[in-house]
Amino acid sequence: MEKRALFSNKLLPYMLLVPQLIITLVFFYWPASQALWQSFLLEDAFGLSSEFVGFENYRTLFQQPEYYRAMVTTAIFSSAVAVLALSCALLLATQADKKLKAAQAFKTFLIWPYAVAPAIAGVLWIFMFHPTLGTLARPIKATGVDWNPMLNANHAMLLLILSATWKQISYNFLFFLAGLQAIPKSVIEAAAIDGSGPIRRFWTIVFPLLSPTTFFLIVVNIVYVFFDTFGIIDAVTGGGPAGRTTTLVYKVYADGRLGGDLGGSAAQSVILMVIVIALTAVQFKFVERRVQY
């Protein structure tokens, strides 16, 4: 056990915590409580008066087929992005972990997409895949596929999944690479002497030892797809065609900001918040118990 520094000053620790606490209060607890309060109110379209309606907003929400469709869309979108982004990143990280001459350059290039803002990433992808303007849309069409993410919901979803994955791979890659480098070299060598080939070695030694990283990344990725892909969706499809790529978080925006239904939108935010809190709780329980080796 390392010794901790102890402050004899009673006030100092609180003073040091104050900035962090203020930020959390102002930017999380305050808006969150506002959303919670708002979700029980019904406001007129001009925002002139509001009325307490209890759980009315939630009841209406759960009667909307669009809300269930957004749930399914979110489930498909998030699982596809998480699986793709994690597996691609793991593959790249195992390659970068080998002794490559250009390993440093390889790493640097891979990390760049993370620095791109979601909306810009979205615009970038729509430039490449726009049915009439896109540079890559032409070759796709040349193969006989009637490529049109503006009209075809499956194409639109595919485009979103690809762009969201592309952006998240960098982040996952960094964590996987750090995880791989933390595995003692001698353990891998011992496995090699024990007659385990590279592929078997990966699945029986490396992958189990990476599991804490993997579990952490799964949760982070799901939270990413839930919230941070808003910019990409807004830039690429705007939730369309016909609301088929509207995820839960995009629906919060569409209903509240575009539709003017502040109460319903707030109710959705509260539900999303509960989902994410639950996810995080599961992660901590899981990581602390099962994954430690």
Binding site: S186, E189, A190, A192, I193, D194, G195, S196, L209, S211
Partner: protein, 359 residues
């Protein structure tokens, strides 16, 4: 069972750093060979080349009659015990030991038989279901040994396996390794920087320095007749004292004007030429018997319990004498040392090679 043969083995790293400079060595089947030397002498690199974890830049390594230069580690029929044990942290002790057998498609009941047998020999039966992190250092060490012996390999390789243990456990495990190796009769190559470990374990002691072999022999031979000044000062604790001297004639040298008779001295050395005179701290007697004596100024005394170490100077050079406790008064300021001509080692100051009789 198989021996190991090294034929002018070289290892050159990027940037032309030569870690191993043409080492040739024959390790007989069933013998215990210890490679010893200071850090950076190439001993671990050599071991890792035998294991197949490092490529061989030049020369050939044979296990039995087979050249293994291009053979994968898994196919060399060797087992290795690592310094940090390298246990698989996510597997139970049982699975750690069974892993190598499973990979080779050994039948389940055979695996169980062998693991149980190894666990019994190493007294780790109660821990078979535990994970490595729930074990003490000594127990982990045993599991690492167990993982090596269940495979029944041709050769055991040990890479400083005891250096992470505390002093008491180290002595205990040292004895156990020796006993186990005797019982199994498997050819073993053991790397250490600890000369006591090297002396006690080896049938064949290989002293290395700067990527080359300095001397090969039984521990007793290496101790009694070190071929270079490096070996003389590396093997033995406390290390051999080296004094500047002068050739006086056949079988006679002088140290600071004091005559010393020597049994093992090369013929034809020019009188008056410089020479280095080596004397082990345990080989000189405080007293005035015999006809070669040296005088020593004592600076201080170290108590070791059974013995005492007297530190001081002889003819201006650092000198240590080991004496049984009570033999000399602790406040002794000056000593007369009797030197047995049999116990004097002579070295060339330029080449550092031994100047003994030609054999």
């Amino acid at each position: 069972m198989a021996g190991v043969t090294l034929d002018t083995v070289r290892k050159v790293y990027a940037g032309n750093v030569e870690a191993v400079k043409g080492v040739s060595l024959g390790i007989e089947d069933g013998s215990f060979c210890v490679l010893v030397g200071p850090s950076g002498c190439g001993k671990s690199t050599l071991l890792r080349m035998i294991a197949g974890l490092e490529t061989i830049s030049g020369g050939a390594i044979k296990i039995g009659d087979r050249v293994v230069n291009e053979v994968e580690p898994a196919d060399r029929d060797i087992a290795m015990v690592f310094q940090n044990y390298a246990l698989y942290p996510h597997m139970s002790v049982y699975d750690n030991m069974a892993y190598g057998l499973k990979n080779r498609g050994t039948p389940k009941d055979e695996i169980e038989k062998r693991v149980k047998e190894a666990a019994r020999i190493l007294a780790i039966e109660p821990f078979l279901d535990r994970k490595p992190r729930a074990l003490s250092g000594g127990q982990r060490q045993r599991v690492a040994m167990g993982r090596a012996i269940v495979r029944k390999p041709q050769v055991f390789l040990f890479d400083e396996p005891l250096s992470n243990l505390d002093a008491k456990l180290r002595v205990q495990m040292r004895v156990e390794i020796k006993r186990l190796q005797r019982a199994l009769g498997v050819t073993s190559v053991y790397v250490t920087h600890d000369q006591v470990e090297a002396m006690t374990l080896s049938d064949k002691l290989v002293v290395m320095s700067g990527g080359q072999i300095e001397q090969v022999g039984t521990p007793a031979d290496v101790y009694r007749r070190p071929e270079t000044r490096f070996v003389a000062t590396f093997i033995g604790s406390p290390p051999m004292n080296i004094l500047p001297g002068k050739v006086e004639g056949p079988g006679r040298v002088s140290v600071g004007g004091q005559m010393v008779n020597v049994t093992d001295m090369r013929e034809g050395l020019a009188p008056g030429s410089a020479i280095e005179v080596g004397l082990r701290p345990e080989d000189v007697q405080a007293g005035t018997t015999g006809n070669s004596t040296l005088t020593m100024d004592v600076d201080f005394v170290e108590e070791l319990g059974a013995t005492q170490l007297f530190h001081g100077k002889v003819a201006g050079a650092e000198f240590v004498v080991q004496a049984s406790t009570g033999q000399l008064a602790a406040d002794t300021r000056s000593l007369t040392l009797a030197v047995d001509p049999q116990n004097v080692h002579l070295f060339d100051p330029q080449t550092t090679k031994r100047l003994g009789r030609q054999i």
